[in-house]
């Protein structure tokens, strides 16, 4: 028993309810952006709960703009990353929702170490802090981000804690509070 086993009390009817929309969206994307799509994982076939669309970094903005403005997936539920410990190292993971039908979708972008990604603030202003958190935790940089600084850790911190090679034990002690840059309020 795994993720593809239907569980009645945890979104039991979702697969049947959303399959037509998922199929329509993935077919539309395959028709329009075939050169940008790397692979598409579908639930019940692959071990995932919703379709996962792997997009090339070059087509990231185009596909996401189409998903947001044309295909109804206009709600950015979550934006995070994972460290896969193999090349390409990072995956940016976006959880999108259609606020009308409540269908969900996951978009992934593969990034190698030291590679930057375009900022998504033009599409969703809420992506601002999410990108800062990804930078803080994984060290992925975003081009065009207006304020790419650490968000959870101290500004003086060294290392990116959610990378898999980050040591689990150790100290970085700061004896003075973290100063706030007055430029931020100008």
């Amino acid at each position: 028993m795994d993720i593809n086993t239907p569980v009645k009390t945890i979104y039991g009817g979702h697969y049947d309810k959303y399959l037509p929309e998922w199929t329509a969206v993935t077919e539309t994307l395959q028709g329009e952006f075939a050169e940008y799509l790397e692979e598409i994982l579908m639930p019940r076939v692959d071990p995932t709960d919703v379709p996962v669309i792997h997009v090339r970094k070059s087509g990231m903005m185009a596909v996401l703009t189409r998903l947001k403005d044309g295909l109804g997936f206009s709600f950015l539920t979550d934006y995070t990353a994972t460290d896969e410990e193999s090349e390409p190292r990072f995956r940016l993971v976006l959880q999108l929702m259609n606020p009308t039908t409540k269908a969900r979708l996951r978009v992934k972008v593969r990034l190698s170490d030291q590679e930057t990604a375009p900022t998504l603030i033009p599409l969703w202003e809420g992506a601002n802090w999410a990108e800062r958190e990804i930078f803080d935790m994984f060290g992925v940089r975003f081009e065009g981000h207006p304020d790419l600084r650490r968000i959870l850790m101290d500004m003086r911190w060294e290392g990116h804690p959610l990378r898999k090679d980050y040591p689990l034990r150790g100290y970085q002690v700061f004896l003075t509070p973290e100063p706030l840059d007055p430029e931020l309020l100008k």
Binding site: I10, W124, W129, F174, P179
Partner: protein, 426 residues
């Protein structure tokens, strides 16, 4: 101290920067004009991280023009406990206790959502009684979370006695939770595939009595504050976050519904038995402090209705899914049989394996959408344990929300979006 600092970090900042975070060179002098003394008088105000009105360790720096906030900059992270990293290095069973410390005002909802997230990856269906108890837990937690939110919001604006009405009921609810799992705040009540313990005999009847009492108290609170002229002046039209901005900033839960975003995951993405109970989803239109307060008050009533329905329909039965992988052996077995002892030892020392796969499981928590994105590559620990806390996105919306408002309304706005440091910093 220097021994525990192997890297020997030093700061070469002047003392005033180190202490206050503001260099004295920054121009904070007030320009005085003969006609209007407040014209263009810029002042920086630092609120927090340990200011009583911030309710947790947040910091907000605001640039004021007179009393108006022109720009603000919010900082947090003071309660960061590396939960996502812990999720990658603890077994799925060990992680249950960490979920309590997300939104500590409604710890039971976090427990329930986390248990669902792992069960979904493993394809486990918990028995009916466990599902009903989980639903009751979630609604009980929602009521106490909303009571504390509206209560604290009122305290910040000067209505202290109102808060005490709600707080009294909240204490009684905590006693009910204590009967369930022995803890009041950090419950750790759910287990993967079941519950820590069954609800005691007659617990649902006690909940029903409490619901009846609370309904009367909520009505009384409503009469006390909702039509109060001072309350209306302090909250109506203050700190508006309209529908478009809510969608841009990924607002969910009562804060989004206050602005007309008609999404409630209990209704729109039904899990457990929410499709079998009858409840309404209150939605307001303006998105100001008053609407957020009003939506929460109405949600308390709806949650009380759900609680009554659950208490009526709950039946005796098993609370554990009979799945060999996750079932914790009974103590009788552990102490009296060798197989039981080995099973117990293996369960707690190495944990159970979760099949490879990934899932984003979300539930309507008291503040909004709480989601667990778990990537498993097999094995007893997760490859990635992402926690989507609603407060993270709500706190981000505070800056556009309070721009152009009075400094005194910052406190009202912050209290009304109910940012909880635990799930903000994780």
């Amino acid at each position: 101290m220097s021994d525990s600092n192997p890297k020997n970090f030093k700061t070469d900042l002047p003392l005033d920067v180190a202490r206050w975070g503001i260099p004295s060179t920054y121009d904070v002098t007030v320009k005085r004009d003969s006609d209007d003394i407040f014209e263009d008088s810029k002042v920086l105000v630092n609120i927090g991280p340990t200011h009583p009105a911030m309710h947790g360790a947040f910091r907000c720096m605001a640039r004021l023009n007179g009393e108006i906030i022109e720009k603000s900059y919010c900082e947090f992270g003071y309660t960061h406990r590396a939960k996502e990293k812990l999720g990658e290095n603890r077994t799925y069973h060990q992680f249950v206790v960490y979920t309590d410390r997300l939104n500590y005002c409604s710890a039971l909802i976090n427990n329930v959502t986390y248990a669902m997230a792992v069960e979904r990856l493993m394809g486990i269906e918990v028995p009916e009684r466990a599902v009903w108890i989980r639903m009751m837990c979630a609604e009980l937690a929602r009521v106490i979370d909303h009571l504390i939110c509206v209560g604290i919001n009122a305290v910040d604006l000067g209505a202290f006695s109102y808060f005490l009405y709600g707080y009294h009921q909240r204490e009684k609810a905590y006693t009910l939770i204590e009967k369930l799992c022995g803890a009041r705040l950090t419950t750790s009540y759910t287990r993967i595939g079941g519950l820590m313990a069954d609800a005691p005999e007659g617990w649902e009847k006690e909940v029903k009595d409490w619901v009846k009492e609370t309904r009367a108290v909520v009505d009384e609170m409503d009469r006390l504050l909702t039509e109060n002229r001072i309350w209306l002046k302090r909250t109506k039209g203050v700190a508006i976050m309209n529908r478009e901005d809510c969608l841009k900033y990924s607002f969910t839960g009562p804060n989004a519904r206050a602005a007309g975003v008609d999404i409630d995951l209990r209704r729109d993405q039904p899990c457990m038995f929410y499709d079998q109970v009858d409840f309404d989803v209150p939605v307001a239109q303006t998105g100001d402090v008053f609407d957020r307060y009003f939506v929460r008050m109405e949600e308390i009533r709806q949650s009380l209705n759900i609680l009554t329905q659950c208490a009526d329909r709950i039946k005796r039965g098993p609370i554990w899914a009979e799945d060999k992988r996750t079932r914790i052996p009974e103590k009788d077995q552990v102490y009296n049989t060798m197989e039981g002892l080995i099973h117990h030892f293996k369960f707690f020392m190495t944990g159970f394996n979760v099949p490879a796969g990934e899932a984003y499981t979300s539930f309507e928590a008291a503040n909004g959408e709480l989601g667990f994105y778990i990537v498993s590559k097999g094995g007893p620990t997760a490859h990635r344990m992402r926690i989507r806390g609603p407060s993270f996105w709500h706190y981000q919306g505070l800056d556009p929300m309070i721009r152009g408002e009075y400094i005194a309304d910052l406190v009202a706005a912050l209290g009304s979006i109910n940012v909880i440091a635990g799930e903000l910093d994780r």
